[in-house]
């Protein structure tokens, strides 16, 4: 578990944390002084022990915090190195400060006896390392708690995004304009051309049934999706007459591949609504599916009005892009480009599942 937590202590070096750690240091140093006095490890008085341990403690704390603040180590090796430097230089400086205070205010000179000095240094390094390790694990704990918190927020927000995308999908599925226009056509065709009216209604039923059943996306195959788009285009063909032509290329190799539902439909709908319907002479829609290494690539091309018609809109298309990102991350692709000689070409690539 520990291995997964990056050492990101740099965010924790600020004035507030410094003060908190300093107060901890002072308390712990006092405890150490008391411990040393009462166990008799040193023969000095409590006051002396307190002064020496405080000088060491405060030196350690300040130097380590300062070094961390300056160097902001990101790798564990550099962090350990900084901590070691901190303990070493803290020992030296703490010793100087401690003996300075004792000499100045208490007129006690630390005897230059090897043994006594050596003992102080050993104690300082031992306790210094222990306490540093204590602070270090505290900070790690803090970082890991924050990380879990961030992870949680990230997970929740991505769940929320997925939910929102689903909702938008549901709303986008049946465009009211399309539905009512189709029904008007059917109503009229009942009198003028019952056979066409009937086939339009059949296509509408097919379209509605498939798109409604895909509200909670199960895995479907590419040809099922194309089937629904065909029904949609048949309806539009009756509405627009000569103004709409369409072609679909679906090789057998990709027919039965699983494909996320409702990715293609918004692209076709967009090509119609923004590209061909507003264009006086209408045009053509071409859908081309193919295999490309371990990807399925589908292109939707139209010869409509082109980019100018949706530089500031294209909501449906934006949803498709978002969904590909949500479903496949970096592995999926969404490209929107100008079609030659006119219109728009959308290319989507999704990994074969």
């Amino acid at each position: 578990m520990e291995q997964h937590i990056p050492i990101n202590l740099k965010n924790h070096i600020n004035a507030r944390h410094f003060l908190i750690d300093l107060i901890y240091t002072i308390l712990i140093s006092a405890l150490i002084a008391a411990f040393l006095t009462f166990t008799g490890i040193t023969t000095k008085s409590f006051i002396m022990n307190l002064i020496v341990s405080q000088s060491f403690g405060i030196s350690f704390c300040s130097i380590i915090m300062f070094l961390l603040w300056i160097f902001k180590p990101e790798r564990i090796a550099s962090l350990v190195f900084i901590l070691a430097i901190g303990v070493a230089s803290g020992t030296l400086i703490g010793l100087q400060i401690g003996s300075f205070i004792l000499r100045q205010f208490f007129f006690i000179t630390l005897k230059q006896q090897e043994k006594s000095l050596f003992q102080i240094i050993i104690l300082a390094i031992t306790f210094g390392s222990l306490i540093t390790y204590f602070f270090y694990s505290q900070a790690r704990l803090r970082v890991s708690q924050e990380l879990t918190q961030q992870e949680r927020i990230k997970r929740l927000s991505s769940e929320k995004e997925a939910l929102e995308a689903n909702l938008r999908l549901l709303q986008a599925q049946i465009e009211p304009h399309f539905l009512f226009n189709t029904l008007s056509n059917v109503l009229s065709l009942i009198d003028t051309d019952p056979a066409s009216g009937k086939s339009m209604l059949v296509d509408l039923i097919h379209y509605l049934r498939t798109s409604l059943s895909r509200t909670f996306p199960d895995s479907i195959t590419l040809d099922q999706e194309i089937d629904m788009i065909k029904a949609y285009l048949n309806i539009q063909k009756i509405r627009m007459g000569e103004r709409l032509r369409f072609k679909i290329e679906l090789p057998d190799a990709v027919r039965k591949h699983p494909f996320p539902p409702m990715l293609l439909q918004p692209l076709v709908e967009n090509a119609l609504n923004h590209g061909l319907e507003p264009k006086m002479e209408g045009g053509e829609i071409m859908i081309k599916a193919m295999e490309k290494d371990d990807l399925i690539r589908v292109e939707v091309m139209d010869t409509g009005l082109g980019f100018s018609s949706f530089e500031k809109t294209g909501v449906g298309i934006g949803n498709v892009r978002e969904r590909i990102k949500l479903l496949y991350g970096e592995k999926g692709r969404f490209i929107l480009e100008e079609n030659h000689p006119n219109g728009v070409r959308v290319i989507i690539e999704v990994p074969k599942q």
Partner: protein, 254 residues
């Protein structure tokens, strides 16, 4: 007196249908022309001078509303639409006549009655309609000036691509042009930083320098340099961007 009308709809079947029920409930009305797009509708009204025009709202070329704006004083207008929520609400409010597709006989009967009354009283067609339509148009989504740029048009090898603005890390001025920097790479576009600053959503994009606009969601952190300028780091990018003093206030609350 007999009256003349034109019917404009891009769908042939729907023109036929409207004509057939009109023939049933207002047999004296002469349909003097049919239009399958806005331009034809405009020409028809100008040449045939009908008293009534039935205009589908969504038509290629000129929309029904745009046609209405130009012919407002010439004849009475009845809008026909399958579903245009915003427009319908406004029409309700302003007492503009409209029909919903599929057109029902009962509803058309009401409209016809009203038209007959107005025409028989020989009042002038309301010229104020143009203003009402103008107002409605300006409030429609995607038409007013409040929409922000959502796609950036870039040259990519031999093709022109649209990339969504959310994918842009930042924009950087390069002479008269602008460099668009995304995770996938860089490309030069013809729009200037100044134009972009006006067209992009100011909540999503902040200008941090005379020649630079950043995507707010990509900002990692901002720190003060010793000279008082801000240094901005973006997520997953190595470079440091300079925030000039004039724009530092943007980061005060962060």
């Amino acid at each position: 007196m007999t009256y003349k009308a034109v019917v404009a709809d891009d769908e042939k079947e729907l023109r036929t249908y409207l004509k057939s029920i009109l023939a049933e409930i207002w047999p004296e009305l002469i349909i003097c022309g049919e239009a399958k797009n806005g331009k034809e509708a405009l020409e028809l009204v100008e040449s045939k001078r009908p008293q009534v025009a039935f205009l589908d709202i969504r038509m290629p070329g000129l929309s029904g509303m745009e046609v209405a704006k130009r012919i407002a004083g010439l004849c009475r207008i009845v809008f026909v639409t399958a579903f245009d929520q915003y427009a319908i609400e406004a029409f309700e409010r302003e007492a503009v006549d409209y029909l919903l597709k599929p057109v029902s006989k009962e509803r058309l009967l009401q409209t016809v009655q009203r038209l007959k009354n107005q025409l028989d009283a020989s009042t002038e067609p309301p010229a104020g309609l143009a203003e009402v339509v103008e107002q409605v148009l300006s409030k429609l989504p995607g038409r007013g000036g409040t929409d922000f740029l959502r796609w950036i048009r870039t040259q990519n090898k031999d093709s022109i691509r649209l990339i969504p603005v959310e994918e842009v890390d930042y924009f950087k001025a390069e002479d008269k042009y602008t460099l668009v920097i995304t995770k996938a790479g860089e490309s030069l576009i013809k729009k200037s930083i100044k134009e972009l600053a006006q067209e992009l959503d100011p909540v999503q994009f902040w200008q941090i320098h005379r020649g630079m606009i950043v995507n707010v969601s990509r900002i990692d952190k901002v720190s003060r340099s010793l000279t008082g300028r801000g240094m901005l780091r973006l997520k997953e990018r190595p470079e440091l961007l300079t925030v000039s003093r004039n724009y530092l206030h943007l980061f005060k609350q962060m």
